[in-house]
């Protein structure tokens, strides 16, 4: 157990804790269980009390909120105003906070269409390793002044500082959705169909693959005006020459994507691991994952594998290292957090040195 658990609401209190501690790890709602630390020498800085939307003007397409604000609260507010976060932040149902999602660098199925969390973050306020409150980026949808620290914080896992406030860009919420599900006898055939679709001038909201014992299912999500959805879905069918397919609509459709975002398909004892991939590498990776009995789903047009790893993560670590892939453990028991090959580690070390020379923020 951590030595000391501090729940702080004011910036100066946080600064005080930072100054007086030698090892720190920020914590939001704790929804990403694999990213918690159990080291007793580390002070957990609980910022889940830093919650609330500070500024939101729908016509600006931006909002600023405290880092500990639950995404559920933000999504509700945005939806009331006909807007949303197009990258579909995951684990919202488990209490994910805005800051925690940035730190973990997680995006859901919607990242296929308009980009991931990195593409929607605009600015932030954070406290660095010196205990200084720092602002970076801007509060408007476009800004090129200074280094892009907001993007740097995406995926930083709390090791570069603790985030206090974040500004995001939002988009108009699509009025309705429809999904086409199609079965393929082999994963490679489903991938080919997916790649073909990806090159066509179609507005596809999400594109996901679920392999199973007899092949794979491809899920194609469309968003937009309810009236034209049926004709757009039919067009997809015609393009793919589909026979064995099914259209998901209404609650069923919603529930499917909800399951994708919440990872309800994962067994509690398994570790959920995020593995960035490219479509071309999926078949080889999938074979290995299947051999280890890991459930897996491919997201964002097969740019991301979500893996439910059953065993010891060191086996997965070696396997990914060999394939030149990197990964992040998200849910499950605390073990190794970053797996596989780390690209740019030397550059990252320089960045860490600059922002946290004393190494106060725990490196996960």
């Amino acid at each position: 157990m951590p030595l000391e658990n501090v729940t702080v609401t004011r910036y100066n209190e946080i600064q005080e804790v930072i100054r007086s501690s030698s090892r720190l790890a920020p914590r939001g709602a704790g929804s990403k269980t694999a990213l918690q630390t159990t080291l007793s020498s580390v002070t957990t800085l609980n910022v889940s009390d830093l919650r609330g939307v500070l500024a939101y003007q729908p016509q600006e397409f931006t909002f600023t909120a405290l880092a500990g604000t639950p995404l559920a609260e933000i999504e509700r507010l945005l939806a009331e105003n006909g807007q949303y976060l197009p990258f579909d932040p995951p684990l919202v149902g488990r209490g994910a906070t805005l800051g925690g999602t940035v730190a973990a660098g997680l995006s859901g199925p919607g990242r296929y269409r308009y980009g991931g969390i990195r593409d929607f973050i605009l600015g932030l306020r954070f406290i660095d390793g010196h205990g200084k409150v720092v602002r970076a980026g801007g509060k408007v949808v476009k800004n090129a002044a200074g280094f892009d620290l907001p993007k740097l914080m995406v995926g930083s896992l709390g090791r570069l500082g603790v985030m206090l406030e974040l500004t995001f860009k939002v988009f108009p919420l699509p009025p309705s959705y429809g999904t086409l599900r199609s079965e393929f006898q082999a994963l490679s055939a489903a991938l080919d169909a997916m790649l073909h679709l990806g090159r066509l001038p179609l507005d596809i909201a999400a594109l996901e693959l679920i392999p199973h014992a007899n092949g794979a299912a491809l899920y194609i999500r469309l968003a937009g005006d309810q009236q034209i959805l049926p004709s757009r879905l039919n067009r997809l069918r015609a393009i793919l020459g589909l026979k064995d397919d099914e259209i998901l609509a209404g609650q069923t459709e919603h529930d499917f994507w909800q399951e994708q975002k919440e990872f309800t398909w994962i067994e509690a004892a398994h570790t959920l691991v995020k593995v960035p991939v490219t479509p071309r590498r999926v078949v080889a990776l999938d074979k290995q994952l299947a051999a280890h009995g890991a459930a897996r789903r491919y997201s964002a047009g097969a740019n991301l594998a979500w893996v439910a790893w059953p065993g010891d993560s060191s086996t997965l670590d070696h396997m990914l290292e060999e394939q030149g892939l990197s990964a992040l453990a998200v849910l499950g028991a605390n073990g190794q957090v970053r797996l596989g090959r780390q690209v740019g580690a030397a550059f990252e070390a320089r960045v860490k040195q600059a922002l946290d020379p004393a190494g106060k923020w725990l490196a996960l």
Partner: protein, 459 residues
């Protein structure tokens, strides 16, 4: 460091025709598109391979000679201005498209590849590179990357940064590193995101992996003319309020319209005080449905003339007018400054009134062209450099506009970067603590400050 030993060392890397040292050869490199700043470098080297760039950076590091990477030199903020005691590394001939993969929708390019060339190479596969700065027929991917350049279609598609997947970089101390991967997703801090927009201060990008996207199936491009600039601005708010996400929303004022018409005959109504260009793009069925919605708004908006692009040629003509606006203003005035600032979209109207007031107070004409969807203003300040003090007054006016942007909660640059021009304005937007963190990062990556020395941070 004496000139002759630098020269000797460089001549081991470059043949004489790619190592420029005499004044006549150096003159074209003395400034970028912000011509009021000039400096003569010691030498210019024209690299044609990555290895030459790496060797040159290592040499500079060893000898403590500052260097400036240069693409096409179209920076509007003095970003590619040489250091007087340094070297310019010209990259426009390091311009191979190394690989274009239509299946995975990416292109691996060298930094000297011209922006539009990427889309041209991708076109046979129905793909394109989305960032579209008006300078895209000439500016390079390296320059786009350094400034996180934008264009007319940023609101929907984002800036350069949103389209860069991976990088190979030579750091200022000569270390060669890779950042990112071919995947859209990554783990660990977004280092690619940090490098993009670092204005050449973190070293030189040698290879860039770009994301390509399918070219939209259909476009609808609408021109709407207004008797007041404010009305055009109000219409933007209405379009956004009805839930549309157009590919581009641009506005030009009368002076900009006059200039563009004189230059390229885009068919703009010369008497309009405000001209709105709205473009919808996407799947045909969607664009058709959105077009109806858009036209309802436009027809209720008080536009006195509305024109919808008839075909692709007409659409291109409309865009040509808008994209040539900067250079076209040269027809109205011997000299001008292109300013770049951002205000919250809902305060565009107020900002324009304020700019008009400043224009009158300084007795300098200001033409306005802007990415209205992003609140990104481009006031063009017209002056005659032959009149004594005119440049200083124009610069002062430009500075007041930047203060206004910050006061309104916006930014001192939306896409042209800080460079040399705005380095003293960075503290207007950021506190001492904010700057200290950026400078600490800078020092960690370039302790000797040899890469693009003197840029971005206050003198």
């Amino acid at each position: 460091m004496d000139n002759s030993s630098l020269h000797t060392a460089l001549s081991r890397i470059y043949p004489p025709d790619r190592l420029l040292t005499n004044p006549a050869q150096l003159t074209p490199y003395e400034s970028d598109a912000l011509t009021s700043f000039r400096a003569r470098p010691k030498a210019v080297v024209i690299a044609t391979s990555q290895s030459e760039v790496i060797q040159t950076v290592r040499l500079c590091h060893q000898l403590g000679v500052p260097f400036v990477a240069r693409g096409s030199g179209t920076s509007l903020s003095g970003g590619s201005l040489p250091c007087a005691d340094g070297l310019v590394i010209a990259l426009n001939r390091l311009n191979r498209i190394i690989r274009l993969d239509p299946h995975e929708r990416l292109a691996v390019v060298e930094p000297g590849v011209v922006n539009l060339e990427v889309s041209r190479a991708a076109a046979p596969f129905g793909l394109y590179f989305a960032p579209d700065p008006s300078s895209q027929p000439v500016c390079t991917i390296g320059g786009n990357l350094a400034f996180n350049s934008g264009g007319a279609h940023c609101l929907k598609y984002g800036m350069t940064s949103n389209h860069v997947l991976a990088l190979k970089v030579v750091l200022p101390d000569g270390e060669v590193i890779e950042l990112g991967s071919e995947s859209l997703e990554s783990t660990g801090p977004d280092l690619v995101g940090l490098f993009v927009g670092s204005e050449g201060l973190f070293g030189i990008a040698l290879e860039v992996t770009l994301r390509l996207i399918p070219k939209p199936e259909a476009y609808k491009t609408v021109l709407a003319a207004y008797r007041s600039l404010g009305k055009a601005g109000d219409t933007v708010a209405q379009i956004v309020a009805c839930g549309l996400l157009p590919g581009a929303i641009e506005i030009m004022d009368n002076l900009a319209i006059q200039a563009a018409e004189a230059a390229v005959q885009a068919g703009y109504p010369l008497d309009a005080q405000g001209l709105l260009v709205v473009e919808l793009d996407g799947e045909t069925r969607i664009v058709e449905a959105e077009f109806e919605q858009l036209m309802e708004v436009i027809h209720a908006s008080g536009a006195y003339a509305v024109h919808v692009a008839r075909d692709e040629a007409d659409r291109q003509r409309i865009w040509k007018g808008r994209k040539s606006a900067f250079s076209a203003v040269g027809r109205l005035s011997p000299d001008y400054i292109v300013q770049d600032g951002v205000v919250p979209r809902s305060r565009l109207g107020e900002a324009l009134v304020e700019i008009q007031r400043l224009s009158a107070a300084y007795d300098l004409r200001v033409a306005n062209v802007f990415h209205a969807g992003d609140g990104n203003l481009h006031p063009l300040i017209l002056f005659d450099g032959r009149q004594s003090g005119a440049l200083e007054r124009a610069e002062q006016l430009a500075g007041e506009i930047l203060h206004l942007c910050v006061r309104f909660g916006g930014s001192i640059t939306g896409e042209h970067g800080i460079g040399m021009e705005k380095r003293n304005f960075l503290p207007v937007m950021f506190s001492e603590a904010d700057l200290q963190v950026m400078q600490a990062l800078h020092r960690a990556i370039d302790p000797d400050q040899i890469a693009n020395r003197g840029k971005m941070f206050p003198a």
